[in-house]
Assembly symmetry: C2
Homo-oligomer: 223 residues x 2
């Protein structure tokens, strides 16, 4: 293994980014030590790199978080990164063995990562504007959660798909965090709420919580 491959992975992340949290959960679950390079998505913040810089464009051409420098390479996109970690570090797997179960996990992953999160991310909400962003975010999260609730009603056991932790769980908790942030009424989604409560006790998830990240503003951070 080259020295670059043996170096500690570096996660380019932002505390409030749900996509960053997904990868923090996966890294924690697999007990992979990593350093954090904090990235500011929307405006310069002390001790962070602004995402809209030529420097960061070299890291991630989409100028988004997360990106992960690992094994001498920089990988982008949370779903691609979770799969890479699972394929190269198979202990504490993020996917079941059975192909149908894997398809169910990926369906949930994509409902969240393609069907919900992109429509309520910071760049889109900025575009929608101050007066309309909240009902916009609520509408799209609620629409996605209605479908997700129906999927989980038949797929979930202790976790999102059966009783084993998967990458669906890495995605679920951060999305519920966003839902609360945008004041979505969660009452119609008992399975989502039950799973979030169960999952919040998993150390890999709680250790990656946005309010426990180095770039979280002190006035917000958990004590």
């Amino acid at each position: 293994m080259s020295s670059s491959a043996a170096a500690k992975p570096v996660l380019y992340a932002m505390y409030a980014s749900s996509c960053s949290w997904r990868v923090r959960i996966a890294l924690n679950l697999k007990q992979i030590p990593y350093d954090i390079q904090s990235i500011s998505l929307l405006k310069p913040v002390p001790d962070t790199v602004f995402s809209n810089t030529d420097e960061y464009r070299k890291v991630n051409p989409m100028q988004q978080v997360p990106a992960l420098h690992i094994d001498g390479h920089t990988l982008c996109d949370s779903v691609a990164i979770m799969h890479y970690l699972d394929e190269t570090r198979p202990s504490n797997p993020l996917l079941p063995h059975d192909a149908l179960q894997r398809a169910k996990v990926r369906e949930i992953v994509q409902i969240i990562c393609s069907g919900i999160q992109p429509l309520q991310n910071a760049a889109v909400l900025t575009q929608i504007g101050k007066e309309k962003y909240l009902p916009w975010a609520q509408q799209w999260i609620s629409r996605g959660f209605r479908g997700l609730e129906q999927v989980l009603a038949s797929s979930a056991g202790k976790y999102s798909v059966g009783d084993a932790f998967t990458m669906a769980d890495c995605c679920l908790v951060p999305q519920v965090f966003n839902a609360r942030r945008y004041e979505v009424d969660l009452e119609p989604y008992p399975n989502i709420v039950r799973l979030e409560r169960e999952l919040s006790a998993v150390p890999a998830i709680s250790a990656g919580h946005p309010l426990r990240q180095p770039d979280c503003p002190p006035e917000l951070a958990s004590k």
Copy 2:
């Protein structure tokens, strides 16, 4: 194999849906015969099922296309379906063997499936409204294509990642089709345009073209 497992797969699809086209390409590439159940996303069309029905909600809780009934089960989401097909029908693979190359394929897949398509799908554009939908679609496609172009500049060979066809290619051509539909200026993206030209000659792609689908209105259909 049970009779339901041996039955011909049924693809729930809409001719103009880029996500449906991704799966048509994967099925064609793997030479899996299938039947089509046409779904109308926005309004009832003769000989189709309207997606906003209780009947279709039982097929896909997200009320989106595609869904695929195969091996006695109904799978939802194009990315989950492509992975399932690749894991259960490994001939003509949709992913490389190398983990880093797989991460690159999935990065491209997610740039398109999470970073671009969700922001320009029919439901979102309807919400944005008649007067603003075109610049909205153009802005988000262009933003995504700027990042995608940079990724492809280093990843592409004959196809999106090296010289072998992958699920990145299944996603690329349908997204370029959407870009043209929304009159995006493609001049700044020579790699995207070059790959689309190369890929359009692949029979699995051309056979799945929206204008060759049974629910394509006759006045639009290719002769």
